[in-house]
Amino acid sequence: MTPGRSTDQDFEQFAASAMPGLLRFGHMLTGDPLRAEELVQQALVSTWARWRRIEHDQPHAYVRRAMVHTHTSWWRRSRHEVPMPAGYDRPAPEGTDLAERDRTVAALRLLPPRQRAVIVLRYYEDLSEADIAQVLGCSPGTVKSQASRALRTLRAALTPDLETTSP
């Protein structure tokens, strides 16, 4: 805790500074801006309740883990539906970079939440397997196997559009 500041003030400062990144992470997980906002709110409420225990120990990892767990729980109840993210609902012209991104986003929707989280943490946040394992609360071996399954699914979905040079 910062000297002279309350625990609540410290938490709110953390939440305000982390919010843009968390919303983006939530959008990547859920594909829906409103669900992303709800996911972030729920994760922050949970984080606030444990703030004293985690403020000096990776609060960013904790809140992301709470988001992944909550989203997984939602996904199981929603018959595995993942909406198309905002801005991706109108197809881009074929042959453009945007069209390739749209196809990739559509392929990402095929992944279950934890695999999607692994992909986002690896390819957007550039986290190592060990760091991803810390965020998700699992072993690096589990991260490796989740990533492998996710890439297999994505490769199968995108193969006609890719030069398959990645492992």
């Binding site: 939440a15 959008h27 992303a36 729920q42 390739e100 995108l158 890719l162």
Partner: protein, 277 residues
């Protein structure tokens, strides 16, 4: 472009960015306040003697004053007594003279009984691995709890959140959140390691806010707490306890007590006729 590059390119797209709504932090504050209010019922239960993962809330002990700090007294020789494999009906571990639970009602005590019980009671400590990160993904504990809610006719349970290790306690389950109609419901399930002092729940040493009754058609007993002015913002709760000490507390700030009780009893009746496999 290979798959790695495609993924990096796609995830770097600005369309993923979302504007930060002006009221997000306010919404978090409101949700936190609501959660704190509705958890008062659960906290009262803990104060009355409900154990979380084998850790005793010190206020349940005679002469411990109002210090909310948790105290662990000594390790229990039978480590499986924590969590799902907690003590069955019979002699309670740590009780001296031996306290024998013969029926679900034996999990509830008056203050005098409770004082006598704790005079020579050695509280088990949690296993070293009893603490786990929370929330934990859905599992058999919350699956079972949710099935009981659905069988009881609780509507819109698909919107509730689940945690297989409430507050990081293995063997402590919770299903909570807003139902589809927006009403908040929290259902906590834990093993009791010792009986509740029902007189302590009202915070004034009396049992006037508490009734203990038999749940029809089951071997369960229920404690119904209506809330007390002594605890500002406290909400009522219904805690159903099986003969072997599995406690399920139903709590809500917005659902009438009669409805809460009807659901709690119906869930207990369903679980009685549909034992866990």
């Amino acid at each position: 472009m290979n798959l790695d590059d495609t993924l990096r390119d796609t995830l770097a797209d600005d369309r993923w960015a979302l504007p930060v709504p002006a009221d997000t932090l306010s919404a978090v504050r409101r949700k936190r306040a609501r959660r704190q209010r509705t958890r008062v019922g659960g906290a009262v239960l803990a104060t009355a003697g409900m154990v979380t993962g084998g850790v005793l809330v010190a206020t349940a002990l005679p002469g411990s004053g109002s210090d909310p700090a948790r105290s662990v007294i000594r390790p229990l020789s039978a480590p499986e007594a924590v969590g799902c494999a907690a003590p069955p009906a019979g002699v309670l571990p740590g009780s001296n003279p031996p306290y024998t639970v013969k029926s679900a009602r034996d999990w509830f005590m008056s203050k005098a009984q409770s004082d006598a019980f704790f005079t020579n009671y050695n509280q088990p400590s949690p296993r070293p691995d009893a603490r786990v990160p929370s929330p934990q993904p859905s599992g058999p504990g919350t699956d079972r709890l949710l099935s009981a809610l659905e069988a009881a006719g609780v509507p819109g349970t698909e919107t509730l959140d689940r945690d297989e290790a409430d507050s990081g306690d293995r063997g402590s389950y919770v299903v909570k959140g807003a139902l589809a109609d927006g009403r908040q419901l929290n259902v906590y399930r834990q093993r009791l390691l010792f009986p509740m002092n029902t007189d302590g729940i009202g915070s004034d040493g009396s049992s006037r806010y508490v009734t203990v009754e038999q749940v029809p058609g089951t071997g369960c007993a229920a404690l119904v707490f209506t809330g007390t002015p002594a605890i500002p913002g406290s909400t009522g709760f219904v805690s159903v306890v099986t003969p072997d000490g599995l406690g399920t507390a139903w709590n809500s700030a917005t659902i009438p007590m009669a409805q809460l009780k009807a659901w709690a009893y119906a869930a207990a009746q369903w679980e009685t006729t549909h034992p866990a496999g």
